[in-house]
Subunit: 353 residues, 2 copies
Amino acid sequence: VDGAAHERALERHAGLAKPPGSLGRLEDLGARLAAISGHCPPPVPSSPAVVVAAADHGVHAQGVSDWPQEVTAAMVATVASGGAAVNAIARTVGARVVVVDVGTLRLGPVPDGVRDERVRSATRDLAVEPAMTVEECRTAIGAGARVAAELIEGGTDLLVTGEVGIGNTTASAALFAAFTGADPADVTGKGANLDHGRTPHKVEVVRAALARHAADAAAGARGPLATLASLGGLEHAALVGVMLAGAAARIPVVVDGVVTGSAALAAVALCPDLAGYLVAGHTSAEPGGRTLPDRLGEPALLDLRMRLGEGTGALLAVPLVQAAARVLADMATLADVTKDAGQGGSPKVFGGG
Amino acid sequence: VDGAAHERALERHAGLAKPPGSLGRLEDLGARLAAISGHCPPPVPSSPAVVVAAADHGVHAQGVSDWPQEVTAAMVATVASGGAAVNAIARTVGARVVVVDVGTLRLGPVPDGVRDERVRSATRDLAVEPAMTVEECRTAIGAGARVAAELIEGGTDLLVTGEVGIGNTTASAALFAAFTGADPADVTGKGANLDHGRTPHKVEVVRAALARHAADAAAGARGPLATLASLGGLEHAALVGVMLAGAAARIPVVVDGVVTGSAALAAVALCPDLAGYLVAGHTSAEPGGRTLPDRLGEPALLDLRMRLGEGTGALLAVPLVQAAARVLADMATLADVTKDAGQGGSPKVFGGG
């Protein structure tokens, strides 16, 4: 990111027609957008798109979810038909929805409106073996990057991350534990389950996966890509690709909850500079996700106690990102206002008491 | 508000295609919108408007502000010309901006684009005498109600409250203290000042005003209207009118920060049922405003550490209100999704593990 543009944005904010600092976090966010784009004022994003990456998880066999795996494909079809929460919220904020199947368990063809980028039919069971080969993981990253790059080519100027995948909060907890060193008990939550009945078991499954992965790593499977392949899902990998493509094009990427957040951890481990392009949209309800803001350097913009995923929380942050850019672009300066007020154009008159 | 519609909305949410409760506060907000409109699903607001009420304050003579009073008229002109923060944010969320002068200190004519509803040129100094007569206060309430009713007549279906007025956080602190019984030291902040240098003095001014008002009340000037007239500003009164008109038309009114929040306290004191129509948009940075969510029954939707006023924080909550209505209107049910998944349409399959 461009530190000089960041500085210019902060200076510009100090001269706008308002008490200094009175737009709070919107000012910091505007400066980050300047740093991301390299321009001050930064462009106002007008064509947001949410990429909903979908896949199934071999770890479902361990009994980590209240929901049958068929729900993943059913929810993908619901997103494609416009009836999911992500669609309703995307309509509200004017965002395009692109749902990408990178590896659901399905017998029939991919329905209309779903981008077919299936790498394999669900991951392997991460509790007992690597969820993906490194090659499969790379392919899923490439699929996400390709989808995002095509969107950007078509005019998308703000990327939002979303996902669907029964079992994916277990994989997310494993990624959080692996990338942060946290104890599984501290980063594992109920996910989409109705209550915490399965949570202690999820913790044990994550613990087993980490032990298995540690042995694999000792045998040579080291590094962020190997960790992502070992413990993540195909949708996590695809979202890493989305983030990389966004950063490469210097556009902001909004992170949603714990699943996209764990993908963000993997992406930043692969490419530390990427952190500067990520905006935490909504506070995760999962204990792992709740640590993410510290890791991305700022709290999430929203905390509405949502825990649905799909990109719903991140989408609600889109107008905040747009507003942060627009105030920098549109506002009059304090000097303009003092001139209008016959104060001789000196901001000092305003601030000096 | 309509309690039966509220119940129907909660029931509807329980059957939508997502884990129950997973949209968090958006679900509660949707139920409130159903209660406000009397319909489930509630209409999705498509024509928001922010009413920016502007006035000056006699209490400025006490040295409560870093800013000269001329800034009020200068900021009104800036809003009218589209260069204020409220304009930039309104553009982002698709809201109309209506700026109403209910009593600025100005020598010349009201500029183009400003609605002229001046009741008097600034209030009297509330530290030493009632800021307004009850009649002036009524007139300002009527002006706000008229502006809002005309907007609603013209299609506005979501009202947002905003204000401009150098000195108005002092009046707001006095209203908070009077309506809640809080000590002035606990509800008075720096407002638009650059630092807390004047805050102890502001506390003493508020204390003097409350003592003066208590004496007036003992002499017969009792009741919420007398309190608002005694301690408030013309913009507070106008905003009470906006809130009353919104509630009368069964549309939600979004509260911004400490100034609109203190107007909300007065409005709810005048008409307790009004509380059900108010949505706290952004957490106030002022200590008085921070107590408001408890009084309105819910925390504010946003906390971006903004402290500008003008309606900026409330406007940023508009897409959240729209999204809360839209998910209720647009989402598929769990039964639809299970049917698609060949699960026989029983939500039980999804929740039962």
